[in-house]
Symmetry: D2
Subunit: 284 residues, 4 copies
């Protein structure tokens, strides 16, 4: 999980010194950060400069928590106890300088990741393509994928939007499992690949670089939401291996997205999207 | 509301003819579209070509409904009854070719809009800046805004993300009012401006080009959600002026976002974001 | 060609009035614009608001000129003679408010176009695929295209970059023909599609929405550059059909890009890119 | 400098193994890379996966060369001699998989950099603001900057385009100094900040993460271009400190861009852009 405060330095030279300090004294920053948390750990700080304004992207592990509060608290502490006292005249403009990036579509998350980064793959045998997906020719499925998810999204100027409807799946899972629904914005970023296999089957993958999930904190303690996490086997923190529950939840999200992508693409090919919506979507 | 099927033509010449046909016969397309709906109306069709693949972005009004199903049904009908029979060899690859764009961050929505486009402005008197927002100097507020929402988001490579946390507000409102939570992805796109007024007050605005909301259909009939819509005075369709309820809901969303932006920026300036989160955010 | 000044209005209400005025009085704006030019013509004004700041995107035809100066002069005149006197308190902040958008990668150009929008297509017979492109299996060519130009560019977060190297071709043509080399940034935006034909041939297309070219003005009068334009048959203005030369030059650019795309993809498939560079690229 | 081939693995598991191998055996990869070059050095390999397709972004230093050929040659060698023989069934789809990213606007370059990353800052005293830039009030200059370079570019959906006209300066310098004019696309990415100083002066900065320049190779040996490099004191390779010439050229580019930004912003404020163009830009 990441948090990126913006610090206004006295001039560019000080901003460069601040950036270098974070590289050279990373161990000390980690120690100060650790004073505020049992589960979290500062991994690295990646700094970008806009003139004398330094954006310090703190990258942390956060156990089974999604970790925004944990990281925010630790970063606040590192700034006040370590960095700001050492850089006279530097001022914290905002604890989040939007390079984090939280809840806005952002290239930095797409490129560097945020939360969990997951890639999932499945090979669908020809039988399943024909009988279950009701697609006669896998080439037709690949074509729909290519011109919708790749070419269409490129025409639309999408960022992290090379998919059919990952946000639907992510939103449903987030609501059911007590995640932050505003983080659907970034967590649903997803690139799908789909290839025809030599035997007439299909190979599909989803790559999701910024799945922001946790199994403790936030809405995870609510009764219904905790029950859903329990069904998946990831309620609460994983004592044996802290972080394992959250990672598993991210993998489940990616697997669900993969299924949803396959399903919608097949429905578009057999052209029964509208009929299905009309039959199933309306309140009686 | 928009929907953009992708049609594979026999070659580029046919794709150009299809595009021109939609311009030249718009009235006829409107008539065919109208056969499927009482409230919806086809406004225009904006076509973009990727070689022989035509992406027809149908732009429609949808009364008080968010309108995805309504538009999907109408577009399906126009394709099957009017367009495809006239263009021999053209094939519908997918009813949605991702130029719509639904539930993915997309430049086309940011530039051309989708759903409602809303701009809201407020002038905050100096007293309120000092007493309520607890900000001593409005210049400090403008600086935090500039280097977080404008410069930070530019560094992060945001698309429609020049804001502090519009997605939080939009997600909350969408859940409360029975909207589609996956559409938070696109509906939360927002650009904030903040200026110091000569008297020491502040002028703030939010520009949100793609707020996808409705007051009929979807989750709006659920008891709690309908009650919330009722509180705002927009439950169900507006008989006197169809569409007025949905438009009002979009304006309420923008106003709420504006307030949330001001609040968070002020909290970042007075540096009590962490304290507030620690005090208020944790389950007892 | 487009130019988008940013005007700061007294408040949002005035900005809305300004926007509406440009729609309601378009003919009058056209008349005023026409006072400054013989060849240019104002087509429309698309306004976007960031609170009280109005960005007026003037869209004009410019005959055979690329047209930036022509449009800038006309917009300046419309502002000073017509708009600003009618909107008391409104102030021109900058004649270009960056929504034009000139010489920066911008979604607005990708979505709405700027300069000429060109789509070109070619069908390559199987013989040419094998003998000239030295590609044994067209499927291999499609695969390289898909995972480089579509998937790779999506991973990279490209905007208008679904191509192999359109900028190389555009830059070469722009230098040879006296175009503005800084406009390579926007003019090279290009989406390529490549499909296998049933007979083993290939179908390729390029879609370039913002090719900014002219055959009069700028560097087109220089001796060598004018000679190159002459070779293509488009030197100077086309008296019989003003604008025809510039349009043709844009089509030539797209055709050249198409060839370059095919050539590089084939070289990547046969894996002789490095050998070719080593053999041909170095100064003796 | 970077180059990112795309390798199709047999399945996702192999792709993960390939990614991990590049991390675990980096020293060996460096040794193999070094067999092809005297000046270049492999720094790291950052891999991103799209399912079973691995995009290996090789990041290298290249001495005083821009380095595309050097890196391409080395990457080709590492693939053929080391990686592909170890991963049975993996196939090189393209030596460049577009995650490099060369000559297309790409978020990956904006976030991670390519070529040289430069930040420059200048403080302009009040006298110079008034007498040379002809701007009465520095607040006016800041306002033009904010609503053009930051807000306008955000509205336009720019990527790396928070500047007034960096591409003009970069294109001019690249042509004069024998650089690759197609790389203006990526090298001109630039974020400007401008602040009012307490004394009425201005503080301006430019941040340019991907300036792709060299002082040997390419067009640098041409007579006129070499003379220009000589004027700057960076012709050829720097024997005492290989790479110092190229780094200096990148800094000169940033400094020139900074000046050009200041000049155009001032011209927009004093509103004499059009007059200047009319007086100076036309061929006599």
């Amino acid at each position: 999980m990441t948090r990126a405060p913006v610090v206004r330095c006295t001039d560019l030279a000080q901003a460069v010194a601040l950036r270098d300090h974070c590289v050279d004294h990373l161990d000390e920053l980690r120690r100060v950060f650790a004073e505020t948390t049992r589960y979290g750990r500062l991994e690295t700080v990646r700094t970008r400069l806009a003139g004398r304004h330094a954006y310090l992207r703190f990258v942390c592990t956060t156990g089974d928590a999604m970790g925004m509060n944990l990281v925010g608290k630790g970063v606040h502490h590192v700034l006040n106890e370590h960095l700001l006292p050492r850089f006279h005249g530097a001022e914290l403009l905002a604890l989040s300088g939007n390079l984090c990036t939280d809840k806005k579509p952002a290239a930095v998350n797409w490129v560097e990741g945020r939360g969990k980064s997951v890639v999932a793959e499945a090979v669908i045998p020809p039988d399943a393509v024909h009988e279950i997906l009701k697609v006669r020719d896998v080439g037709r499925l690949v074509e729909a994928h290519t011109f919708k998810n790749l070419v269409g999204s490129a025409l639309a100027g999408c960022l992290g939007g090379s998919n059919a409807h990952s946000a639907n799946t992510v939103a449903a899972l987030f609501l059911a499992c007590g995640q932050d629904p505003a983080q659907v914005v970034t967590s649903s970023a997803c690139l799908v690949t789909l290839e025809a296999e030599p035997d007439g089957g299909a190979r599909i993958s989803v790559s999701m670089p910024s799945v922001e999930v946790g199994t403790v904190g936030g809405g995870t303690h609510l009764t219904a939401q905790r029950a859903c996490l329990g069904l998946i086997g990831v309620a609460g923190s994983c004592d044996a291996d802290p972080g394992a529950h959250a990672r598993r939840l991210a993998r489940v999200a990616a697997a669900a997205v993969l299924c949803g992508e396959l399903s919608l693409l097949a429905a578009l090919c057999s052209n029964d999207l509208i009929q299905a919506h009309m039959a199933l979507n309306r309140a009686k």
